[in-house]
Symmetry: C2
Subunit: 473 residues, 2 copies
């Protein structure tokens, strides 16, 4: 639980003006995992100093026999030697005035007893010399904005406002299926020195980043993590995926990143208090990231539903109940407006099943009237729209994309989530999201969970506002 | 709880030689919901008799003023009149010797008191005259094999071996997002006469159908349903999605299909005993359908894992624990084979984290050795493979698709599920499924749940075999 007052130097890690690569590989091309080749492909514009006593030239750059031979200033080093040589390499970097080292290799606390000893030595070197260490067992950092990445895995550069903090490269390589995109990433790895709290503080202050995602297997300093997360959550949404939740998972995590996993329930409660939105499942990370980037927080728990299908409405009611949201009791004005369009025998309530009405009056008119009234209804905090996702032209007149997109854009203060059923779910979902004020979910339970996340965020911001007020006096 | 011994006539409903459409509409084209136009587009080859006293010709077919004017034999009728005229229309059909009527309109037990009275009248007519009724409040039937559909919603024709039984047209229109495909469908609607049990018995005996999916809001005769489901489950997998699970959902279901929903826990236990695989979520229906069509049942609970990523392995261990599956304790032969390819410091256990090995020996060799050993291992009942889904060419040498697909094809008796992470998840998933012996899932929890469904199916078949043995003596 020691306190770290030393600067994290993460600004240098993320956007170094110059970088030394210790143990730079001469192999190139497919399957070589060549860090320097990847940096060049990623578009890094700073100075690269390969260090490899056996090479003259690496990827077209003159190589150095030893880091001390580099006569120009070096911001950070990437250390990619076999594990036994890592401590000396880091010590040499520190002696040469380098502020930070990314220690890439596996085989430390994630491996055997000898590895644990080596990791302790790294920690000691950092304390003694002041050099900050990221890793070991890490892909390091990625910054699509500065154009720097230390990843030995080739990755795409995409300036997305999403910052990822993780303990495994899978969240860099697999960002498309976890967060959708990865603008900046910090892989803590085994976390012998730099830790989650440092990365949280960094992304919290970073204006390029609008949503932070944290993958946690285990924490060494829980209090520091929660404080940093809470500070960050005041500024932007923080989503956490706590892995190693079961006893068996925790056991495996101890050997993966050398971390103690701790009790899941304890984490869950602490996360909630700190304003972290906890994802139970990697798909929730994807959904929540998308929603936080596009939709406002939800100011309450009351959901209005507009649907083509009664059966879909019922699945949705179940889904809302399971995540603690409420089916809004709609105002008389809303009920009356839809009643006026429906056959007299049709019971009108929330969910607004507009099928009988649209069979008579046409889809666009009915959907627009219903959605406008629901969005304007003071008894409603957020809305879920159910509509068809047609592929065959004969169903095209039932495509409600334009109506939902345009109506939602006129009521930006309430979140609107859509579930589109039919053969063209993917295509219509992309179309409806283009306006920027609707998010489409592939299933109703995921639509409900996403609104619940927006509601938890809204609640945290309201409580936080209240909690902070006394301190202003 | 009355017993129905009358034949269901579902063979006539699904593949009628001739069909009368009572209340046939003269409107055509987009938004007209014209049943006859849809039948023609769907490729129906039987005889169509439009009945509409105000029209001479509907969709190019001579129209009749009354059903009794049709001089040729008629198998079934589609009734699409306003609700008040439905009872007389059905009575006329019965008098004319028609075996079955699909009653399309809403406004019966799903609506108001008058609607409930009308539905009771329909039930009485069926009992008295012998005509079987599907509905009211239904899209009716769809049979892509016979080429007949009564749907007023235009639908695609796709000969998939999936039979859907539901209480709402959303499962016809949205089949792409529920079951992936829909070869045959029976929409029970409000179920005034023909019920789930009839449809289950029909699909159970139907060789075109390999997987049955049932959407249940509520049941009128639970025992008959469970008996029919159990008989069907002995022959093919039966997946059920029970909607209206929460109190609020049940309330809404009462007004949607007029059904009493009942206690979810009671259903869940009864489903399990009857060999029904219960889906908690519409996405599980999609996953399970795909898996049952391609993979064998799993003969136990022990899962072997081959992974590029330790972090992914840990999420998977959590996911397995949550669905009651076990992380297999691998045999010494399997451990030794992977150990021989790995650095000496790498702890080798299940999940088999092969990253350090493949960095040294190349992906294809290592993945193949590991997967072959796991599949051959007598301590393993099913396998989950984790691999990258590369999009950029620089990652292509890590594409394990061929290895996983070909190795799995050589061990058909154990189910193999893959999770592919990376930007091209969809493309690589399609590629890996082409061999027919691997199913790809979009997330690790879904991969685990799918194996659990295959394991439940295996357990039911084993118990059923045992349970049936005494009765053979």
């Amino acid at each position: 639980m020691e306190k770290t007052d030393r600067p994290s130097h993460l600004d240098a890690f993320m956007a170094p003006r110059s970088v030394a690569v210790i143990g730079a590989s001469r192999k190139r091309g497919q399957g070589s995992f060549n860090v320097i080749e990847n940096m060049q492909a990623f578009g890094y514009g700073g100075k690269i100093y390969p260090v490899n006593p056996l090479a003259d030239d690496i990827c077209g750059i003159s190589s150095y026999g030893h880091v001390k031979d580099i006569k120009a200033p070096v911001d950070i080093a990437i250390v990619a030697t076999p594990r036994d040589r890592v401590p000396d390499a880091v010590r040499d970097c520190a002696a040469h005035g380098i502020k930070g080292a990314i220690v890439v290799p596996q085989g430390f606390a994630d491996a055997d007893g000898a590895g644990k000893v080596l990791q302790e030595e790294l920690k000691r070197i950092s304390r003694e010399t002041g050099i900050r260490i990221l890793g070991p067992n890490t892909l390091g950092v990625l910054d699509a904005f500065s154009g720097f990445s230390s990843s030995f895995m080739p990755l795409k550069r995409e300036k997305a406002p999403v910052g990822v903090i993780c303990q495994s490269g899978v969240f860099f390589v697999g960002s498309a299926v976890f967060t959708g995109a990865l603008g900046k990433g910090i892989d803590i790895g085994n976390g012998c020195d730099l830790d989650f709290a440092d990365a949280l503080a960094y992304f919290s202050a970073d204006d390029d980043i609008r949503v932070i995602f944290v993958h946690v297997e285990g924490l060494k300093d829980g209090r520091r993590f929660l404080e940093a997360a809470k500070e960050a959550a005041k500024k932007k949404p923080v989503i956490a995926l706590k892995a190693a939740r079961t006893a068996r998972g925790a056991e495996a995590a101890a050997s993966h990143s050398g971390a103690m996993a701790g009790q899941w329930e304890v984490y869950e409660a602490a996360f909630r208090q700190s304003g972290i939105v906890s994802a139970q499942d990697p798909e929730e990370v994807l959904d929540y990231t998308k929603a936080f980037l596009r939709l406002p927080p939800m100011t309450g728990k009351r959901v209005g539903l507009v649907t083509f299908t009664g059966a879909g409405g019922i699945i949705l009611i179940d889904s809302l109940a399971m995540v603690g949201l409420e089916v809004a009791s709609l105002s008389a004005a809303t009920i009356d407006a839809v009643k006026a369009l429906s056959p007299p025998w049709m019971p009108i309530q929330n969910p607004l099943d507009i099928w009988p009405a649209l069979m008579k009056k046409g889809m666009k008119t009915v959907y627009r009237v219903a959605l406008e009234h629901v969005l304007r209804d003071p008894a409603v905090d957020g809305v879920i729209c159910i509509a068809i996702a047609p592929e065959i032209p004969e169903q095209a007149q039932l495509d409600a994309t334009d109506v939902i997109r345009d109506t939602a854009a006129a009521f930006k203060e309430k979140p609107v989530v859509a579930w589109l059923y039919g053969p063209n779910q993917r295509g219509i979902s992309e179309k409806i999201e283009k306006g920027g004020h609707v998010v489409a979910m592939p299933s109703l339970p995921r639509a409900a969970r996403t609104l619940a996340a927006l509601s938890r965020r809204g609640q945290f911001l309201r409580n936080d506002e209240k909690a902070d007020m006394p301190s202003l006096a």
